[in-house]
Structures are given as C-alpha cells and as structure tokens.
Amino acid sequence: MTGATAHDVPRPRRRARDSLGRPPLVLLLPAVVAVLLLVSPLVTMVVATDPSSLAAAAGSPAVADALWLSFITSTAATVICLVLGLPLAWMLARVDFPGRRLVRSLVIVPMVLPPVVAGIALRTAFGRSGLLGEPLLATTGFAFPYTTWGVVLAHVFVALPFVVISMEGGLRAAGSGYDAAAATLGASRWLTFRRVTVPLALPGIAAALVLGWARSLGEFGATITFNGNYPGITQTMPTLIYVERQSDTDAVLALSLIMLAVSVGVLVALRDRWLVTA
C-alpha cells in the first residue's frame, strides 16, 4: 500500500550513496558477503545444470506429478494453516489468558525441530501404530501415513508455527486500539475480528501465509519420515529430488533448478503485494 504512493512521488536517481553518506565498510562488507553466500550456490547450480537433462526432467511425468503434488499439498496446508493458525494467532495477540507465554513457546517448538524429528514425532502420534493413529485406524479404517493427507499433515505441522508467529506479529503491528474502538461501538469480538482486526492485519496475514506456503513447499524431512515416498501420492518435488540424488546427479540438478524456478516465480509474484509490507 505504501509502495503505491511511493511510486507517484518523483525520486532522485538512485545512487550508491544516500543523503546520510557512504555506508561504512564494516557494514557494507558483511552485507555483500551475505548476498554472495546466499546467491552463489544458486547461480552455480544453474551453471552446472546440463540443458539436455533439464529438458528431459521438465518433460518427465514423474516431475510433473511431483510438482503438482507439491503445489496441491502446500496450498492445502496453507489453507489449513489459515483456518487453524489465524484464530490461534489472534488468541496469542489479543486475549490475555493464563499460560499464554507457555502456549506461545510450545507452538514455536516445531520450528526448532530437525525435520526428521518432526516426522518421528508425527509418527508416534498419527502413525498406524501411533497413540492417536491406532485408534483412528481401528475406528475409521483411515491412517495418515502413505496418503496425501499425511503429506498435508506433515506440512501443516512444520509450517503452522511460522504462520502463527508471523501472523501474531502482524496482528500486534496492526494494534489493538481499533479493536477497543469497535468494542465501544457495541461490536462483539467476532464482529470486530471480521470487520476490523482481519482487514487491518491483512498484509501481515498474507505475508505469513506466503511464508507458510514457502516453508511447506520446501519441506520433505518430516514428510519422507512420516509418509514415505510414492509417486503421485506422497512423492513431492523435494522428496523426488532427495531420492533421485542416489542415482542420477544430472537429473537432480535439473529437478532442483525446476524447483528453484517455481519457488522464485511464486515468491516474486507475491513479493510486491505482500512481502515488502510485512
């Protein structure tokens, strides 16, 4: 939103120096190193990729399946993160309940788990012989492992903490003053949530969802541990890359490049709208 007005104002031509003077070397140098560190492996990956294997990979049905599954499961996981995460973020940001700090700490824990540990944890809970999974299987005949639902569950598990924490930040940044104003006008908390809180925190909420989607798209450690790997059902793009890595290096580079292109494409498409305001 702020970007729109900024574009209207004529600006002096961008120069390396701003009005406060040249950036000090002690800050400039690490910043440049940081950029190189992040960018150079991606650039070399592009360079190292054999164009013919790229063409082969792009045309492969297995790749198409895996990409499609990645897209579907990440999107489904993001929707679930919205439905479950926004209310939780709201509770954390707006309701002063006992144990709030504890809940926030617990919610963050999966963020610091190595993905494979997340997968093992999911298995102990929702596996076919898991504490919750076994009764679920016994009563409904349904089990999460080896199903696309299991992939979505794993994605939600790893993405939800990021979504909740950044949504909470968005809600806090939007401030509770407007909520108070709405309350004095007679609005219930639910009405305030719909008409005031969410619209005002929308940029933060959207940024959180983009983050969750990206996290979900890249996730595979928990997925492969919890769900295994089967084309079309549980084999997402990162899983395919991981398994393929065992036999064909050229193909792996090509697959990684496709994954990179798709991720960058989505993030760039969303960046101007949301990520910048976040």
Binding site: G127, N229, I241, R245, S263
Partner: protein
Amino acid sequence: MNRPGKEGPASRARRSAAPRVRRVAAGLAAVPLVAAVLTGCGPARGEDTLQVLAAASLTDAFTELGDRFEAAHDGTDVQFSFGSSTDLAEQAADGAPGSVLATADEDAMTIATDAGAAAAPTVFATNTLVIVTPRDNPAGIGSLRDLAGTTWVRCADQAPCGRVARTVLQDAGISATPASLEEDVRATLDKVVSGEADAALVYATDAASAGDAVTTVDIPGAEREQNSYLIAALAGANDPELARAWTDFVTGPEGEAVLTAAGFSRP
C-alpha cells in the same frame, strides 16, 4: 528464494539424526564443508587414524570389526561415516577425506573408481533380499504373494536395494504396489520396526540387525539376485598401508566371521 538451498541442512539433519551414524566426528565428516573446517581446527587426525566410508547396511558389522581392528593395531583409531553408498561414493569422488570406501553395490563404487578416487575394488560380501514383518506378523505374510493388499514398503529404484527388490519381484511375477518407496534400506526396515508397515523387503543383514523386533521370511530364489559389497582403498588415504591393512582385515578370516554372523554371505 533459496528453497532448494534449504534442502541441504534438512537432509543432513536426517542423516545425523539417524542411528546409523555412530560417531559424531564421522557423521560430521560426511558433510564436506564441515569436514573441511574440521581438518583445520577440529581434533587432530594423526597418522594412525583410519577413516572408513561405508554403506549404511554395514553399520553393525563394521563397527564390530573396527573395535577388533583397533585392538589388533595398537594406537589406531578407526572412524566411520555410514550413509547411502551413492552419497559416500560421490563424496569420495569429490575428494572428501577418507581412507577406504565400502559400497553396497557395483554402481556406487563405479562413481568413485571412474573419478580415479578409488583403487581397484574387491567383492568382500554378498547380501540377499528377505521379507521382514513386525514380530507378530499382523498381516500373516508368508511369501511375496501375500504382499498384495497389505501396507508394505521397499527401497526406491534409485537405491541399490530397490533395484534388487524390483528384479526379485519381477522374477516372482508379483505386481503388488508398495505403500512407499523408501530412500534406503534402513529407512525401509524402520517402517516395519516402528509398526508403520506390515512388511518390507530388506537385506538379510538388516533383518539380522533388527533381531527380535522383526520376523524374517525368506524369499525362495532371492539368492540369484544377491548384491555384492565392494571395498577399495581411496587415493586420498593419508596412510595407504593402514587402508590396505583394513581391506585385508575385512576380506580375511576375522572379517568373514563377523560378516557371516551379521547375515552376509561369502562372495
């Protein structure tokens, strides 16, 4: 932006969290970048340190052999990096520190030999595919034919154990669909041990290492599709003689005894 880049730490987390890595130093050495740092400022790696890169399925047998080797060669320290044969071979081809490479099949070893990183390999053991089920065998599996309709897993075609499994299934005329194609044999075994699968196709050695946790069902005719374990000294070995001593030890009578006890067959 850097999604694919993020896979690196994730996959490493998988490996370092898996039980197959027995020594922290060896596990870290599997990461070339970290290894490069460690050789600079880590624990001193003296002349009498032997670094062995070995297929995950050799974990138990080699750990046992390592202890015996250390006992027989006073002052020698044997360090292992267990992992996927292909991964390790690629690391060796890439110049990762190591004295000896032991792979679970010929294809993987070829990566290292083609790169000139490994000497001529020797076949030192073979392994046979078997069916494992949870101890109580809830799905009542007695042969490959019983796999249809159950939740069973095998290695992905990209892994050596997957190529063997596919051939064995084709030979037997079985077209049952697995629930998952696991990335390696240990992950495959793990699905049964944890009760997440009714059955899995793994090597006899893996079945042996799982002990009481699983029930083993032999596959008639599987011995025709045995896969070979190869061992070779690496060109970058800091002590070539020690590397040769290890390969001799593994292919010698003591190695044979330990490998046989672990479920391997003689070549």
